[in-house]
Symmetry: none
Subunit: 500 residues, 2 copies
C-alpha cells in the first residue's frame, strides 16, 4: 500500500463514518423535536443497527490495518493526518479493550436508563432510577479498569470529556473558585436584592421563537446552516458536518430569560461547531475538541457577552419590540439587573453566573466519591441534599428538583459536569486576551459580533480537534490557564452591581 | 445452507435495509420540513454514501447468493417469503444493469435538482431548472435502456410506479375518461356557478394546523405513530417501517380547502402505509404496493369521502369551531358546494374532482413525448401552456403556476402522474364494492371512520406489497377494473350539484 492511497482510503472511511453520524444525529434530533411519541422502538431499532454498522466500520480489520500502516509512517504525515490517525487509533484501542457484549449491553442500558430517568424525574422517584444508575456507574468503573488500569477510575471519566484533566487539577481549580466565590456570595446576600420583575410574566411562545431567531442573527449565526428546534432540554448537535448544525431551546412562558439564555448558550456551541475550517468537514477533526472548550464558548456567549451591560443595552429595543406589553415601563438597565440577579437556588441550568460553579462542585464531589468507592449510589439523594445545603444554603424539597434534575448521568455522562465550570473560567481568560486587540464592549454596544467571532474563529474554532484542549487553550491565551481571572471578573462585575 | 438459516439471514438483511431506509427517508423529510436552507449539499453527501451502502448491501454477492438459494427453493417457501425473494431479486436484476457510478451520480443529482426546482419555482425561472430536468430525463432514458431494453422507455417509467402499466393501457383509460369528462365539463360550464365564498378569506396558519390535527383524529389516524409537518408540497413518507409515518401539508392563508384536502389526501396515504400487517414491518413487503393503489386510497379519503355531503355535514361544526369568524352566516351545504365547485384552473393539486384528470393528462402527454424523443425539455413550458389551453381552456401566466408547479419531476418521479388518475378511478370502484357491506354514508354522517378503515385494512392495507397491484385490486373488487364506474360517479354527483 502506498501512503497516498492510504490517505485516500482514510478520507473515504471518514466520509462514510460522517454519513452514519449524519443519520444517527438526525434520528436523535428528530426523536427529540418532531417524531410522533409512539415511535421510540422503531427509532431504537434503526439506531441499534446503524451503531453496530458504525462500530464494525470503525474497528474492523481493514480499518485497523489502514490506521496501523499510517501510524507506522506518522513521521511522513501532515499534522492533520497524524492527529486523525492518533485519535482514531486511540478510540479503537480503547474500544477493543471493552468486550463487545459489554459494550452492546451498555448501549442498551443507556437507552433504558434515560427512559427510567424521565419517568423517575416526572414522579420524583429516585428509587425507580437507582438500579439503572448503579449499573451506569458500575460500567464506568469496569470500562476504566479495561481501558486505563493505571489511572484512578474517575480520572478516566474526566478524560473522556477533557483530555488531560485529573482530579488533582479539578481539586485545585474548585478550591480556587471556592476561596473567592463563597465570600462573594456571602457579601451579595447581605446587600439589597436586584429585581427581576421585567423578565417574569406571560411570554407568548411564538413571540419567543421570533425573538430567538433575532438573537441568532445578532450573534452572527448563519441561519442557512443552523436551525432552531424546541425540546424538553436544550442541546446542540451537528448533522454530519459543521455545515449543518441544530440548536434547540425550551420556552418558559413565565420567564423570558430562560429560553433567551438557552438560545445564546446553544448558539455559542453552534458557532464553535460551525467555525471549523472547511477542510475539516467529514473528518474526525470536525467540530469541537472537548466539552471544556465547548463550554468555554457557550458560556462565553451566554454570560460574558450575553449578560454584559453593553449587550443588554443593545438588545433591549429588540426585546421591547418582541414583547411591547411586557416591557412597558422598563428600561435596559432593568433588564440588565434582572438577568444578573444572584441567588442561591436549586436548579443548575437556571443558576446565575456566581453560584453556578457551586452546583457543579456538588456533582463533582459526588461523582468522585462514587467512582472512588466512598459513596454508594443509593445514598446519592441524601448526600446531594446535604451538599446543596452546605454549599448553597438551600433545602432540597424533592428529588425532582434535586438529584434527578440533570439528564447527564442517565446517559453515562459521568465526568462531564466539571467542563461547565472549567469552560466558564477558560472563557473569562479568553475574553481578557481578546480585549487586547478587540474593543469587545464597543462591538456589543453596536450589536456587531463579527470581530468577536473572528477572534474566536482564528484562535479556537477553525482548529476543530486538531490540538489537545490544553494546548489549544494556552496557545490562544499566550499563557497558562489561571482560574483567578474568572473570579476577578465575577468580583468586579457583581461588586459593581451589588455595590460591594 | 439450510432453509431456516437462509430465512433468518433474509430477515436480518431486510432489517438492515430498513435501518438504511429509515435514515434516508428521515434525511429527506428533514430536508423538506426542518433543515436550514443551505444544507442541501451536506445532505446530498450523506445520502449518496448511504445509498451506495444500500446498493452494495442489496446487490452484493452475499445477498445475491442468499436470494438465488431461496429462489431455487421457492416451492418450499411460504407466500410472504416467496414474494419477498421475487421482489428483491427483480430489484437486484434491474439495479445490476445500472452502472454503480451512474446510480450514485443520479442520487446526487436528484438532491441538487430538487434544490434547483425550489429556487426556480420561487423565482418562476424555468431556465434555472431546465439543465437539471434534462439530466433527470436523460437518466430515465438510460436506465430504461439498461433495465428494460425490450420496452418503450416510457413504459419502463410507468412500471416503476404501477407494475404492469403501459402507454396502451393509459391511452385507453384516458380516452375513456375524456369521452365522459369533456361533455360533463362543458355542461357544467353552461350552468350557474357554485359559490366558494365560505372557504375564501384569511385563515390563520396556527388555527389551520389545529384543524389539521382534528381532521387526522376524525379519520382514525393514530397520532402516536403519524406526524404532521409543513412543506412547500404535501407528501407522505414512512420512516423505517409503518410504525412511523409522516404527512405534510402546506397552509394557504386565503383558502381553507387547500390544506384541508391535502391533509385528508396525505392522511389516506398514511392510513394505507400504517395499515400493513405488523408482521410485514422491517421487510420489503411493508407499506403500499404501488402508486396507483396508493392514490386509490389517498383520493378515496380526499374526494369520495372528504368531499361527500355526509362528511362535510359532519365536519362543518368542527370547521365552525376552528374558524368562527370566517364561518359566520354559512351552513354545511355552503361548505359542501364550495369544496365541490368545478372550474378549469391552473394548479393540479387544487383542481376539483371533475377537471383533475385533465391536469394529469397534460403531464402524461408531455412525459410520453419527451421519453419518446418527440419533445425537448427546453420546450416543455411552451407545450405545457399550449396543452393547458387546449385541455382546460386556461392561459398559464407564468411557469411558477405552470410547468414548475409540481415537485415530482425534480426528484425523478417520471411516470408517476397517471397513478393519480388511475387511483381516482380505482377508488370509485372500491367504494361501490365497499357499499355492499358498509353503510358508508351513515358512518360519515356520525364521523365514524372505523368501519370504513376496517374494510380497507382487510381488503387492501394489511397485504402491503404481498400481491401485484392488479391482483390486489381485482380480488378486492371481485371484478375487473372498469373506468366507467368513476365517470358514472362523477356524472351522478355533479349532475345533482349543477342541476344537469
Amino acid at each position: 500500500m502506498e501512503l497516498k492511497e492510504a490517505l485516500t482510503r482514510l478520507a473515504q472511511l471518514q466520509a462514510k463514518l460522517s454519513a452514519y453520524n449524519h443519520a444517527m444525529s438526525l434520528i436523535y434530533y428528530d426523536g427529540a423535536t418532531t417524531a410522533p411519541k409512539g415511535t421510540a422502538a422503531n427509532r431504537g431499532q434503526a439506531l441499534s443497527i446503524l451503531s453496530e454498522e458504525t462500530y464494525k466500520l470503525s474497528t474492523g480489520d481493514e480499518t485497523v490495518e489502514l490506521l496501523e500502516y499510517l501510524d507506522a509512517h506518522k513521521d511522513e504525515l501532515d499534522e492533520k493526518s497524524a492527529r486523525t490517525v492518533f485519535l482514531m487509533l486511540k478510540d479503537i484501542r480503547d474500544m477493543k479493550k471493552i468486550p463487545i457484549e459489554e459494550y452492546i449491553a451498555y448501549q442498551q442500558l443507556s437507552v433504558e436508563s434515560e427512559d427510567a430517568w424521565h419517568t423517575a424525574k416526572e414522579t420524583s422517584d429516585f428509587a425507580l432510577f437507582c438500579p439503572y444508575l448503579e449499573k451506569m456507574f458500575d460500567y464506568q468503573k469496569k470500562f476504566a479498569a479495561y481501558c486505563a488500569p493505571e489511572m484512578h477510575p474517575y480520572n478516566y471519566c474526566l478524560n473522556n470529556f477533557e483530555d488531560g484533566l485529573t482530579m488533582e487539577k479539578c481539586d485545585e481549580f474548585f478550591a480556587a473558585l471556592r476561596s473567592r466565590l463563597v465570600p462573594l456570595i456571602k457579601k451579595i446576600g447581605e446587600r439589597k436584592q436586584l429585581s427581576n420583575d421585567c423578565i417574569m410574566g406571560d411570554f407568548d411562545e411564538a413571540a419567543q421563537e421570533r425573538f430567538s431567531i433575532e438573537l441568532m442573527k445578532v450573534m452572527g449565526i448563519d441561519l442557512d446552516h443552523c436551525g432552531l428546534g424546541t425540546t424538553e432540554h436544550p442541546f446542540t448537535t451537528s448533522i454530519g458536518s459543521h455545515h449543518d448544525v441544530r440548536i434547540t431551546t425550551n420556552y418558559d412562558r413565565e420567564n423570558l430569560a430562560s429560553s433567551m439564555y438557552s438560545v445564546i448558550h446553544e448558539g455559542g456551541h453552534a458557532l464553535y461547531d460551525m467555525g471549523s475550517d472547511d477542510e475539516l468537514a467529514y473528518t474526525v477533526l470536525d467540530g469541537g475538541v472537548s466539552m471544556g472548550i465547548h463550554e468555554s464558548q457557550s458560556r462565553f456567549y451566554e454570560n460574558l457577552l450575553g449578560r454584559s451591560r453593553a449587550f443588554v443595552e443593545y438588545i433591549f429595543p429588540t426585546v421591547a419590540k418582541c414583547f411591547p406589553e411586557q416591557m412597558k415601563g422598563y428600561c435596559a438597565e432593568d433588564l440588565y439587573r434582572a438577568v444578573n440577579l444572584v441567588t442561591p437556588s436549586l436548579i443548575r441550568t437556571e443558576a446565575d453566573e456566581v453560584t453556578y460553579c457551586l452546583h457543579v462542585m456538588v456533582r463533582y464531589e459526588l461523582e468522585k466519591r462514587i467512582m472512588s468507592g466512598e459513596l454508594e449510589v443509593k445514598d446519592l439523594p441524601s448526600e446531594w441534599n446535604r451538599l446543596y445545603f452546605e454549599y448553597l444554603g438551600v433545602e432540597v424539597p424533592n428529588d425532582r428538583e434535586g438529584v434527578l434534575q440533570d439528564s447527564h448521568w442517565s446517559g453515562g455522562g459521568i465526568g462531564y459536569f466539571p467542563s461547565y465550570a472549567l469552560g466558564s473560567a477558560y472563557g473569562a481568560q479568553l475574553l481578557r486576551k481578546m480585549k487586547e486587540t478587540v474593543d469587545v464592549d464597543a462591538c456589543l454596544a453596536r450589536g456587531d459580533f463579527a470581530p468577536i467571532n473572528e477572534w474566536n474563529r482564528e484562535h479556537i474554532w477553525k482548529f476543530g480537534a486538531l490540538y489537545k484542549p490544553s494546548e489549544l487553550l494556552e496557545t490562544a491565551l499566550g499563557e497558562k490557564f489561571d482560574p483567578f481571572v474568572y473570579t476577578d471578573y465575577l468580583e468586579k462585575k457583581y461588586g459593581e452591581l451589588y455595590g460591594i
